[in-house]
Amino acid sequence: MSTDNLPGVPEEPIARLGMFGAQDSGDTSGYGGLVVRRAPRLSTPRPYGGYFDTVADELERALGGDLADAVERVVVDRGELTFHVKRERLLEVLRHLRDDPALRFELSLGVSGVHYPHLEGEELHAVYHLCSITHNRRLRVEVSCPDTDRHIPSSVSIYPTHDWHERETWDFFGIIFDGHPALTRIMMPDDWDGHPQRKDYPLGGIPVDYRGAEIPPPDQRRSYK
């Protein structure tokens, strides 16, 4: 029997088992054996399509070397272009993206943090959404840092609008933006402990007694995953 037309066996690590996140007792849903694997890490080969190739070519030219030296991965997904940039090259890449006449991403829409505790060595991501008004294009730049060394260079000198955005990302994720003029908490009180948007930060809440049963706090309840 030929196996050519069978889908490949997924090799991604297992994300979770079952459906309800039940660990304390048996899963009676009938889905206890369900295996859900992590989504594969995307890396798009050329051509990317649309203006994405132009942006990649022009950035490569502006950087004066191989694009892969500064950009670890290029992902084209759902009509959006993402450059996963090495953090030590971030400022250089952003400066070219902003200043090069062929790129001209003048407008930054800020920094958004994402915490991926399962990605070892790159747990914390800072995501920059850039917009070029000159060429009417959009681009996402993503930088990662390990949880053990939570440093990313600050880009306030290039995009002053990142001032508050980086403070917010520090506040919520604990990413230290080196070179930020005043990296202080912005949403949480100054004496707050921890960084609330991290996945290892509990949602909070207390167990509640209801008719003799104890209802756990929201983030420890059984729920569909």
Binding site: L109, S112, M187
Partner: protein, 441 residues
Amino acid sequence: MSAPYEETTEGKVYTVSGNDWTELVATLSGQQDEQLVVNMGPQHPSTHGVLRLILNLDGETVTEARTAIGYLHTGIEKTCEYRTWTQGTTLVTRMDYLSPIFNETAYCMAVEKLLGITEQIPERAQAIRVMMMELTRISSHMVAIGTFGMELGATTPFLFGTRERELVLDVMEYITGLRMNFAYVRPGGVSVDLPAGAVDKVGELLKEMPKRIKDMRKLLDANPVYLARTKDVAYLDLTGCMALGITGPMLRAAGLPWDLRKSQPYCGYETYDFEVATQKTADVYGRYLVRMTEMEESLKIVEQALDRLAGPLKGQRVMVDDKKIGWPAQLALGPDGYGNSPDHIAHIMGGSMEALIHHFKLVTEGFRVPAGQAYASVEGPRGELGAHVVSDGGTKPYRVHFRDPSFTNLQAVPATCEGGMVADVISAVASIDPVMGGVDR
């Protein structure tokens, strides 16, 4: 009599709470060389909610202005991670409470992008979204201009503004069942079709609103006091706007016709006929004029959307055909607002076991969204409102981040206030039109 004070390492700190200004003045007389640090807010009527400004004053001149935010932080982004994709609309609608429909639409567009169903959203749903967004823009601008008037000491614009907003809110209530926090736009479309009579209601509003906008213009456009307080105040040119990431009326008042509805159209905006309002003055008055023109243009869009909804799009679906995503949103208008439709309840409780299971699974478990990330943005009343949504393939968002225009635009406070008079701080902040619910999320 001298005002009560404490000795600190920074010098004397006076605590005044109103009614004791004479004492303070008496105490401070002869100390004009000292710089004065004034804390304004977070509980101050003219700081637009709980915004705190720390002003360094040299006489009447502001030498340094700093903004402190976070007093309204509610952790909506975190809460989203513990609720299903559909429940997310109920949460994000509460962020910027003056433009709830925009929050919902940005969020839903991002979710739809992740699901890959952007092309399948029915045209009628898109037209309803456009109509609701433009109505919301009018009500939001009305509040912006109204509160602005009040903060400058004129109560009539505020009365006009809130009265006009009421007209819009009545229509919104008629359509969605709620006056605020609608959760009306859902991933895949909108929660419920326009009720009978909604087209007439919007039609009446379209007849009334131009007069009301004209009244506001008569009140403010050439009012000498208003002009004195707004012209050449809080100047921020295009370079400043770009550097600070400022979008919306502030950017357009600096002369750049950048409007996502035109430049990167969504929800079918490319098919509507309207102009992008711009001004070249880059001051508070320019921002006011941009907002006024935008309301007039919004009315044009509402009119076009309404024509389509009453004409060619009549009777079409308002939710995607995919039954795995579209909620069984058969709601009906009851005496106490929107509720379950009796027909639908009879069907799932008495007619079809499968329909009941489907309803139960979709409502309690929700649908799964393929892993990945997406960014979707709409042109809100205050600028680009973006939603960065990450999925890990589950029934709940992995991360929801909102790029709220109020948050970014507030960074312009030092740039627009420093070097100006302390009274102009009020104009400057009001012309930014920050909504703290959106700033702090």
